[in-house]
Symmetry: C2
Subunit: 172 residues, 2 copies
């Protein structure tokens, strides 16, 4: 995919210690297009510090490659389990750090805000989000794993909010 | 404080998004000594990615300066609040990454294990831990904030486990 020099690129991340999804969309002539997406998988048997380094290095490399207008990291859903929340936090912290260290704007949106901006309803199911991502972006099948789709949805959400004229604050 | 070239240094971290404690102890002639300790404080009003970058940069610099045998990151106490756990996870992820990126061994011990190895009981109070840290290490008053003491306790715990012949695994 070639980039018009006037294009604006938005980078989405769905962080997780085992699988981290990333998705990149570009806006060319007011049309949003798929650029890149996929998942970073931890090596089987890798220990926590190594997993976190893999997320950090992988995201840093992809962000540098695409020079996005901003990086949108999906806010974790707390759920009810403090242990799960802690593990989610580990991956999110590293993703936010990679974005910050890349020198680009960092935004965060909740799963509800992402669903609302992509599907029109904060109560949309995962399937509805995936459907809309496919309809709008036509990602290649091998780049459309569930976590990659969630990351593309985060990138779309950042684009829509940018279009709506919202200030892209660094973190919130 | 001068280091004997045969000394071994242990680095402890008590991570938090607002205040991260660090503590460094050295073992010279079978005696454990205070080397350095203190807290990294986020700039008031800093947003999350900036706070995380501050923790990462600060810890990376201190680890590089002291070249420890290992870095011990205190495991978070989950508590019952998933939101709190998530925020703790952010700081811990970045601390583990800084340790890993520094190329040193990374170990994690729970608050219970740390209390047990420093005071002799997993049910010890914070005051008892602080008392033992002061008794053993005599940290200067300006380097003995609560989070710095907790980090020194983590460093002591890593030393005791090392002394006991445990393998210093990278993460657990």
């Amino acid at each position: 995919m070639t980039h018009a020099s006037s294009s604006m690129t938005f980078f989405g991340v769905d962080p997780g210690t085992r699988v981290t999804g990333y998705g990149v969309v570009s806006v060319v002539n007011n049309t949003v297009e798929w650029v890149d997406s996929g998942v970073l998988r931890a090596r089987a048997g890798a220990q926590l510090p190594e997993k976190l380094a893999g997320i950090y290095d992988g995201l840093s490399e992809k962000i540098a490659r695409h020079s996005p207008r901003c990086v949108c990291v999906e806010q974790a859903f707390y759920g009810k389990n403090a242990r799960t929340a802690l593990v989610l936090g580990l991956a999110r912290g590293v993703a936010l750090l990679a974005a910050r260290k890349s020198g680009v704007n960092v935004v965060e949106y909740s799963p509800l805000e992402i669903k609302k901006s992509v599907v029109g309803s904060g109560r949309a199911t995962k399937e509805q989000v995936s459907y809309m991502v496919h309809m709008l972006l036509h990602p290649p099948q091998e780049s459309a794993q569930e976590d990659a789709c969630d990351a593309l949805a985060a990138a779309l959400c950042a684009f829509y909010h940018h279009k709506a004229g919202e200030v892209l604050a660094t973190g919130r």
